[in-house]
Symmetry: C2
Subunit: 203 residues, 2 copies
């Protein structure tokens, strides 16, 4: 199956600006993107990056300057298509398999993200369109019901964990085993359990 991987190349991961400078945010976000593309390929699918500007990754890249949802919707139609966001640093081919397994019995398979987002989909219905703004998990479910599309939901922590804020780096250090986790360790990040909650610190 073809998997679209939207990527914001210009100013990625701005909410990590407390712990990473702009160049580092770019490098880290590209490492996550490569991990996502590798998991998709390892699961037997074809990743196609939709980037706002050219980016170096060993996968087909299409530059589309439109906002995320518009760029994806321009590519939805009669053919079954997967979509996975580029900041899923914990994703594995097994997690991709679970998404496609859920899609076998449903017109639309959804992997919810933490906080009401949508982190991955498989769409097999000609009328379905995405809108990643707001409580997109709720909105995508409502749209599917409206157009009579059946829904499958994937219960996966790996698919639910998009990396947006410094607290999310804890998950990458603990559960990631790809380039993004290696990048963080090489940059000196480690777990910090000295406070009440587990966080990260940098050497």
């Amino acid at each position: 199956m073809r998997f679209l991987v939207p990527f914001e190349s210009t100013t990625p991961k701005t909410r990590l600006d407390g712990v990473l400078d702009a160049a580092e945010r770019g490098a880290f976000s590209r490492a996550m993107l490569r991990d996502v593309c590798e998991a998709v390929a390892d699961a037997g699918h074809t990743a196609e990056v939709l980037a706002t500007a050219p980016v170096s990754v060993d996968t087909s890249v299409t530059v589309d300057e439109r906002p995320l949802s518009a760029a994806i919707n321009a590519r939805l139609g009669d053919e079954r298509v997967g979509i996975v966001v580029a900041d899923l640093a914990l994703v594995t081919s097994a997690a991709v398999d679970r998404l496609t397994d859920a899609a076998a019995d449903a017109d639309v398979a959804i992997a919810p993200g933490r906080g009401g987002g949508t982190n991955a989909l498989v769409v097999d219905h000609p009328e379905f369109r995405v809108d990643f703004h707001g409580v997109s998990y709720r909105d995508h479910r409502a749209l599917a019901r409206e157009i009579g599309a059946s829904i499958g939901v994937v219960d996966s922590m790996r698919l639910a964990t998009d990396v947006d804020v410094p607290a999310d780096l804890v998950e990458v250090l603990l559960h990631g085993d790809g380039e993004a986790a290696s990048w963080l360790r090489a940059a000196g990040f480690e777990l910090d359990a000295s406070g009440g909650r587990v966080g990260v610190r940098r050497e």
Copy 2:
């Protein structure tokens, strides 16, 4: 299988004090406890609540004033035992099944919680003991390796989402369908998508 469900009856869920008063935190935490016990029972297992003080729940309750880890370790030994924390408001019998499926091939099955915690286990090794302090997911894995116990890990958002802070209530409202979700809605909580991130507000 017997599942231990440790419950802090005295001052539960103190980190929700910004949005719930003490009596409400008690009522909400008991609703989550009942949801957990129901999911365990629906999956065909026997829930045994280990509470720091008596609590009203339609399940066997043992009062044990020791700290969480000590109370559980006193009950680990030769018999296979499940453990699930009491604040998993999203847990379903299907999620419990996935944990026990992982346990079929492993001496210790672990469901990691967000932030390095451990939210559920099935222990089938006489030397394994729990320690829920700090980065317990990492520590439990290290102990299992040390004693030669094989490890199974469950990739589940429902098992990973323990409810500690107000942001976690978003997940309960979106994905919960038990007593805890109903309690929150009856108390006037709803999703708030007016800011940058999705949160909750109370009417």
